[in-house]
């Protein structure tokens, strides 16, 4: 693919380092800010892959909305807990699950490298997208024609999510109170 290797490896390295920090940092706020950086690195890779609308949405929705939600909840709860649980399971179990994870990852990488990647099946080449008015124009025209039903269903999903979140967070006493 015709993307710049320097930028790709920069963003990929940043994303891997920051996602490792998300998992390994013990302070939830540090994890949250590492996650923001990961999202920005992902947005950079989307932009490299000519998915400009997705890159913008990534920053608006993930780095904007979702992360603000996370930070709010972290500061609302203000809970310090010992958050690693490596000591409680048997060492053999830990070793085996680590090996298994790495083996499945290796299988993925091997199959990506050696598998046959299908040739283009549709005609949205970069030139034609450019001629049709750019990535955002093409995506929005598809969204309001071919994908109109999932788009409308999305609004129902968002409405139910709003109602559910309000109903859950408003409750004065937990239903599980013993």
């Amino acid at each position: 693919m015709d993307i710049s290797p320097i930028f790709f490896y920069f963003f990929a390295g940043l994303a891997i380092a920051c996602s490792l920090a998300v998992v390994l940092k013990t302070n939830p706020v540090a994890s949250a800010f590492s996650l923001v950086l990961t999202f920005f690195a992902f947005a950079g890779i989307y932009a490299l892959l000519d998915a400009h609308l997705v890159a913008a949405l990534q920053i608006f929705v993930y780095a904007g909305a979702i992360m603000v939600l996370f930070i709010f909840v972290i500061m609302l709860l203000n809970a310090d807990v010992p958050s690693f649980d490596l000591g409680r399971s048997h060492i053999l179990v830990r070793f085996l699950s680590g090996v298994l994870c790495l083996a499945v990852l290796g299988l993925f990488v091997w199959s990506f490298k050696n598998g046959h990647l299908a040739s283009p099946t549709a005609d949205f080449t970069p030139e034609r997208i450019e001629a049709a008015g750019g990535n955002t124009q093409v995506l929005s025209e598809l969204l309001f024609s071919e994908y109109i039903l999932p788009f409308e269903l999305t609004s129902v999903l968002l409405l139910s999510a709003i109602v559910g979140a309000v109903a859950l967070a408003k409750r004065k006493q937990g239903i599980l109170k013993t």
């Binding site: 998300v22 992902f42 609308l53 939600l69 990852l105 993925f108 968002l158 559910g164």
Partner: protein, 103 residues
Amino acid sequence: MSTTVEPWVVLSFCAVIFFIGFAGVLIRRNILIVFMCIELMLNAVNLTFVTFSKQLHHMGGQMAVFFIITVAAAESAVGLGILITMFRTLKSVDTDQIQLLRE
């Protein structure tokens, strides 16, 4: 140094991020971090979609990402609501404390 990046490198990068998130879900006991790792896994899958969209000249991949981002936003709103309820009830965000059905 080559002037392009092979598709399998991008896909492998997605797999690495996915497994970092997966490992985080398994080894962390703070439910907030577990949520963040789920977001990480969703992002890795999104990037896979965009890579295939670019490779196959098909816009369906980017469309799928659009809907996945919406579902992820809804999921985190409801999930964080559940988390607040859990914290009110249990006074803890430790996943090992969720054992009310056992008692």
